[in-house]
């Protein structure tokens, strides 16, 4: 059974050019013996909720499933993340805009509130995922996801270099401008998976356009 990378292109990211992101995952999956699935579906929620039925209806065997927003890009030398995880649901805490999260969820424990766009699951989580209420917006989905997993043990221990988010706000596009000639941005040097769903469409397309020069780094 192979591990799966399952990318979701949804209505919220219409107009985002995710072809480079797809290219990076395609190479990465080939190098790490994983199956890449990219689905275009109206809502992110629907994409997540139907993951098991989609795989089974298409006779795709699976072990672990990494569900990720289609705007995310993987670095060419990213280690095989599936080797780092156990059977628990894997997520990453979102601390980028705590006001926004607090205003949406208030009474939940924010220290365990995970971001919607990057989780790793397996067949143990079938019912939990399937029973998430239908939602239209990303934020609603994120809230419902977090409610659904309240009573299960979540693996929050995978380091943040596998889920680098809010890159502009937290200055990850900067480089060491004080010393030496290396102008490589910090996010390229120090993180493996670059999440960019907080960028608007123009920012994203412009940004990804600049990353095209890295294409040669991705070799099978």
């Amino acid at each position: 059974m192979k591990n799966i990378v399952y990318r979701i292109i949804h209505n919220n990211i219409q107009g985002y050019d995710t072809s480079f992101a797809n290219y990076t995952w395609d190479i990465w999956c080939k190098n790490n013996n994983c199956t890449l699935i990219t689905r275009t579906i109206p809502t992110y929620c629907e994409g997540v909720k139907t993951v098991f039925s989609y795989l089974e209806n298409n006779n795709i065997e699976y072990d672990k499933i990494f569900i990720i927003d289609a705007t995310a890009i993987v670095k060419w030398d990213c280690p095989n993340i599936f080797n780092l995880v156990d059977d628990r649901l894997v997520g990453w805490r979102d601390m980028g805009d705590l006001k926004s999260i607090y205003n949406r969820v208030q009474k939940q424990d924010l220290t365990k509130y995970i971001n919607y766009g990057s989780i790793i699951i397996n067949s143990k989580h079938r019912d939990i995922i399937h029973n998430i209420p239908d939602t239209q917006s990303i934020h609603e989905f994120e809230n419902e996801l977090n409610k659904a997993i309240t009573n299960i043990e979540i693996n929050l221990d995978i380091s943040r270099d596998f889920n680098l988010n809010h890159m502009i706000k937290y200055d990850w596009l900067s480089h060491n401008w004080q010393d030496g000639n290396d102008k490589t941005p910090f996010f390229i040097k120090y993180a493996y998976i670059w999440r960019m769903d907080t960028m608007d469409k123009d920012q994203y397309n412009n940004f990804v356009g600049q990353l095209q020069q890295l294409k040669a780094k991705y070799v099978i």
């Binding site: 980028g96 805009d97 006001k99 924010l110 380091s159 270099d161 937290y170 200055d171 060491n176 040097k189």
Partner: protein, 257 residues
């Protein structure tokens, strides 16, 4: 043996972090910690005098003599929290000493990685022979919880300063990327100290970036220990004073203890 909260509040006059004007808000910090410590059977120790002349050792580094200081003052201790005086603790903050698992604890840092990564890279290159630490384990030295098994690390820190003071001062003057914080992070990893990071809510730094440094003091509903740093438009620390005063009065009333 009690757990101890260790703070510094030394009036250096002149300019800088411990100048008389920048110290003005510290009284709110100390009063909040006094009350939390009393309610949690914890001893508060405030260092108000330099151990060594500033010219010999910069003030931020002197706090790493804390084990010697406590022992010289005949204070028995179990665990010690070294905390900055630009913090305010919520009266209902859970007892973090019970969360340490006997390990050294910092708090998940999340702020400007332009600053952090330049700091790590430059200290790495000029003070640590290229040694790099994992950035996602970086902690703010405004909250460091230790016990007596960490004496060796603290001795390493003060020895490191004494052996490399000229380099460290030069780096600080050249790059302005902090004093003790990044070297202490590096030494913690060089010494392979078993480090536990508590959630951000136990040392809420750079709150403005997270959109929670708001007029309604939203941060007081979200977490437990507030560090009033990285505040914009903060000439002569006047904004720090205002935020800390307002926060203290919301949580504890107008009376200082």
């Amino acid at each position: 043996m009690k757990n101890v909260v260790f703070m510094m509040d030394i009036d250096l006059g002149g300019e800088g972090r411990y100048s008389s004007t920048r110290r003005l808000p510290y009284k709110y910090s100390i009063s909040s910690w006094k009350q939390w410590c009393k309610n949690n059977n914890v001893e508060l120790f405030i260092l108000d005098q330099l151990l060594l002349p500033q010219e010999q050792m910069a003030i931020c580094w002197q706090r790493y003599y804390l084990f010697d200081i406590l022992e010289a003052n005949n204070i028995d201790y179990d665990q010690v929290l070294m905390v900055d005086a630009d913090t305010i603790i919520h009266p209902d903050c859970p007892n973090f000493f019970e969360m340490s698992d006997g390990k050294m604890c910092g708090v998940d840092f999340d702020g400007s990685y332009d600053w952090v990564m330049r700091s790590i890279e430059n200290y790495s290159k000029y003070a640590f022979d290229g040694f790099m630490m994992p950035w996602y384990k970086y902690f703010d030295c405004g909250f460091v919880l230790v016990n007596n098994t960490h004496k060796k690390l603290f001795k390493h820190i003060t020895d490191f300063y004494n052996e490399n003071s000229q380099t460290l001062i030069q780096l600080q003057d050249t790059f302005h990327l902090g004093t003790d914080q990044t070297p202490v992070n590096m030494l913690t990893h060089i010494d392979k100290v078993d480090l536990k990071l508590l959630p951000y809510e136990f040392n809420m730094s750079d709150m403005n970036r997270k959109n929670i440094l708001t007029e309604d003091l939203l941060f007081t509903k979200i977490g437990w220990i507030y560090q009033f740093n990285c505040i914009p438009d903060n000439e002569e620390s006047k904004a720090t004073l205002e935020w800390m005063k307002n926060t203290y009065e919301l949580l504890y009333g107008k009376e200082l203890i």
